[in-house]
């Protein structure tokens, strides 16, 4: 029995080491993980514009280009996050740093989500100060989906050569948009923005900290576009507050996008598309 238990203990130690090595590797290789660690330890966190959102914003908003001599922007978006996760990120930012941004740009995808999800992104959850770890948080369980991403990075030079610049993930890879505009035009689902409890929480946090919250609907491939005007639309959230919303997913909105060069698949912009789009944001939002 003693020999067997010794084997089991060594096996468990080995498994713990594998987990630690895996955690170390993903935190060094995975863009989202790197980004998260970076945003928790910003050397100079005095940003005027803080961009929150998921992978559409992570790839599609060029924070470097959005910055100017007067204003500095940081793209804090993380791939796969919910609005609840964005709320946690903002709360942490405000708690961790003495500075407050002038604007929080919450870049969303109303063409896909209703913003009510209570799911917290595993990376954010794992790296939150007061998180209670359980058996399910073993890195091999919690972050196993990142393993394929790591392999992609090893295999594909396009993934390997991507870079994080002021929080934006710049990818040169191109996948053409082969979709067509919807036969029956869609409308921007205002109701989803107004009723989202997490947008309301972000808004309340911004009000308390004297930050302007701007909502931004991200562009999408042709098949996912709506025909609601760009705006800005003044929408009243269910908590009674007014917030500005720019619909950059409008069929009429044009940032000079080229379906063959500006996309990277599933409505994500590549670095060329992101540059074009960010210039247009500056123009429309007068930043």
């Amino acid at each position: 029995m003693k020999k067997y238990l010794t084997d089991i203990i060594w096996f468990l130690i080995g498994f713990a080491v594998v987990n630690l090595v895996f955690l170390f590797a993903v935190s060094r290789v995975d863009w989202n993980f790197k980004k998260r660690l970076q945003s928790l330890n910003l050397d100079s966190p005095e940003y005027d514009y803080l961009i929150l959102g998921n992978s559409y914003a992570l790839d599609g908003i060029d924070a470097e280009l959005l910055s100017s001599d007067k204003n500095k922007a940081y793209n804090m978006a993380i791939g796969g996050t919910s609005v609840r996760t964005n709320f946690i990120q903002l709360k942490e930012y405000i708690r961790s740093y003495d500075t407050r941004p002038e604007k929080v740009i919450l870049a969303l995808d109303g063409f896909r989500h209703d913003f009510k999800s209570d799911v917290v992104h595993p990376i954010v959850e794992f790296t939150t100060d007061d998180y209670q770890y359980t058996f399910q948080d073993l890195p091999l369980i919690k972050f196993r989906w990142m393993f394929i991403e790591m392999i992609k990075k090893v295999i594909s030079s396009e993934h390997r050569n991507a870079e994080l610049v002021q929080g934006q993930l710049r990818l040169a890879k191109t996948i053409s948009d082969k979709t067509n505009l919807p036969e029956v035009p869609k409308k921007l689902p205002f109701k989803n923005f107004k009723s989202s409890p997490w947008i309301q929480k972000i808004d309340s946090l911004c009000v308390v900290n004297d930050i302007e919250l701007v909502l931004l609907e991200m562009p999408a491939v042709k098949g996912k576009r709506n025909d609601t005007p760009v705006g800005p639309h003044e929408i009243r959230l269910d908590n009674g507050n007014l917030v500005k919303l720019f619909n950059f997913n409008s069929i009429d909105f044009n940032f000079g996008q080229d379906p063959t060069t500006d996309w990277i698949g599933n409505s994500h912009l590549n670095e060329t598309g992101a540059r074009k789009f960010t210039r247009k944001i500056k123009e429309v939002m007068a930043l």
Partner: protein, 481 residues
């Protein structure tokens, strides 16, 4: 409680520690504890159905005692049939009531009669087909005087409910398993290491192969009208490996877990996809069920004795009943029928016991004739699995039509989901290669215990792969049977 769950990862070490450290040497207490642990394991799904297991235990224990005291054949027969009626009655009600009712109504409607009856919303208790057959084997063996009836109710309860094999087998014989509950058990290092390795190999087959294959098999079978022939063939292949990984994986975990407690369960799979003919396949697939039907149905029906036609009848009965055992659906019956058709030429030409030993024994590669045999058997099996997986017979035939005529247009994307499917191909090849190299051993990770470090290092690698490439489906297919 699922084997590949956090609950079981906590349950197993706790039971192991109490069993060996607190109750070591106290046989009755160990058996009692196994019974309690097994009830907890089963009750984790639905404690209400525990009553069925307890009822079966009481009925078969009591009938065993009655048979012991009774010498008159007529009374012995009554006792035996009482057990059969109770056990199969419970199974029949939970598993087949709605099937018979619906088919009865349909049959009458063909003659213009209309029968009004409503089907019941019946939940099928997990593993009912497995433990019912196990308890029946006890009563039948006692009736045949092959086995002394037990006087130890606790040992018998532990035998009926033994948690490693309670819900999906192997279906143990009382002759083999029950005596193990009478003997003092001593911890055996080699057995425990081998058991651990078998558990890990089972987890790999379940979590990596079966659960990932399930995603694609479900996607293709559920939308089969849309897919082109290549995709439909791939769908059938995915299901072929899903069901193997799922069921043989479960059996490996069950056998390995039993070994940790000092028990030896019968082998349930012996690399069936390397079979050179369909007869060999059935000696290697779900061995505990095939041999159960052989011993308790085929042989009592006369087996291969009594002329050609009787023999053919018996083959069809055993295969069709075996198919029906899997579920109340014509697809399973047709699957059994198809396998009987495959088997028949071999039996009629006396070639059904041609391939008994290990394929390509002493060689790395098989001979061309063996390769052809393996490939033919494999594709016949794939064809039969289409019926097993289809929702109904219409679906199965339209699936085949889709393969042969090409009614759908969609092609599965081999590179979708971050190359997930390509990784799956690599793992299927890896599983087949490992099992080919280990085909003279009991499982894929059986390594000489003298190579202790190498063996544990390999365990660690395979265990890590289970987590990195775990699929989404959690339930074992055979639980529904």
């Amino acid at each position: 409680m699922l084997f590949n769950s956090v609950d079981f990862a906590i349950f197993l070490p706790v039971v192991f520690i109490i069993y060996w450290f607190v109750l070591q040497g106290k046989l009755r207490l160990q058996n009692f504890f196994i019974t309690l642990a097994s009830y907890l394991f089963y009750g984790w799904w639905d404690w209400k159905f525990l009553s069925l297991i307890i009822l079966s235990t009481f009925v078969d224990y009591s009938i065993g005692r009655l048979l012991e005291k009774e010498d008159r054949t007529s009374y012995r027969k009554i006792y035996l049939w009482s057990s059969i009626v109770v056990n199969l009655g419970i199974l029949g009600f939970f598993k087949y009531y709605n099937f018979f009712l619906e088919n009865f109504i349909q049959a009458f409607s063909l003659f213009g009669s209309e029968i009004r009856a409503s089907s019941l919303s019946i939940i099928l208790p997990v593993g009912i087909s497995f433990y019912t057959f196990q308890t029946l084997s006890y009563t039948i063996d006692v009736y045949r005087k092959k086995l002394q009836p037990t006087h130890d109710f606790i040992a018998f309860s532990a035998f009926v409910s033994f948690f490693p094999q309670l819900v999906a087998g192997p279906i143990e014989r009382a002759l083999h398993l029950l005596p193990q509950f009478y003997r003092k058990r001593h911890f055996n290092y080699k057995l425990a290491v081998d058991g651990s390795q078998q558990i890990i190999w089972g987890l790999f087959k379940k979590m990596v192969i079966a659960d990932n294959c399930a995603e694609y098999a479900n996607m293709i079978f559920q939308n089969s009208a849309e897919y082109n022939p290549l995709s439909l063939i791939m769908g059938a292949l995915f299901f072929t490996f899903q069901i193997y990984g799922d069921f043989s994986g479960y059996s490996d975990i069950a056998i390995g877990t039993a070994r940790l407690f000092g028990f030896d369960l019968m082998r349930n799979f012996a690399y069936p996809y390397f079979s050179r003919d369909i007869a060999e396949f059935w000696r290697r697939w779900h061995i505990s069920l095939s041999t159960w039907f052989r011993d308790y149905l085929y042989i009592p029906l006369g087996g291969s004795r009594g002329g050609k036609w009787r023999n053919i009848r018996n083959v069809f009965i055993i295969f069709i009943v075996s198919g029906f055992w899997h579920g109340a659906n014509w697809t399973f019956i047709f699957w059994g029928f198809l396998n009987a058709l495959y088997f028949l030429p071999l039996m009629l030409t006396n070639l059904n016991r041609n391939n008994i030993g290990v394929v390509a024994e002493g060689r790395i590669f098989p001979k061309p004739g063996e390769i052809i045999g393996i490939l033919i058997t494999f594709w016949l099996t794939v064809l039969a699995w289409i019926f097993f997986r289809a929702e109904n017979l219409t679906h199965a035939f339209s699936y085949l039509e889709g393969i042969l005529i090409g009614t759908g247009q969609n092609q599965i994307d081999f590179f979708a989901d971050n190359y997930q499917m390509l990784f799956l191909f690599v793992f299927i090849v890896m599983m087949l290669s490992v099992e080919w190299l280990q085909r003279d051993k009991e499982h894929g990770l059986q390594i000489n215990p003298s190579k202790r470090k190498l063996s544990w290092a390999l365990n660690l690698v395979v265990f890590t792969l289970c987590f990195l490439f775990e699929g989404n489906q959690a339930d074992f297919i055979y639980f529904q049977f």
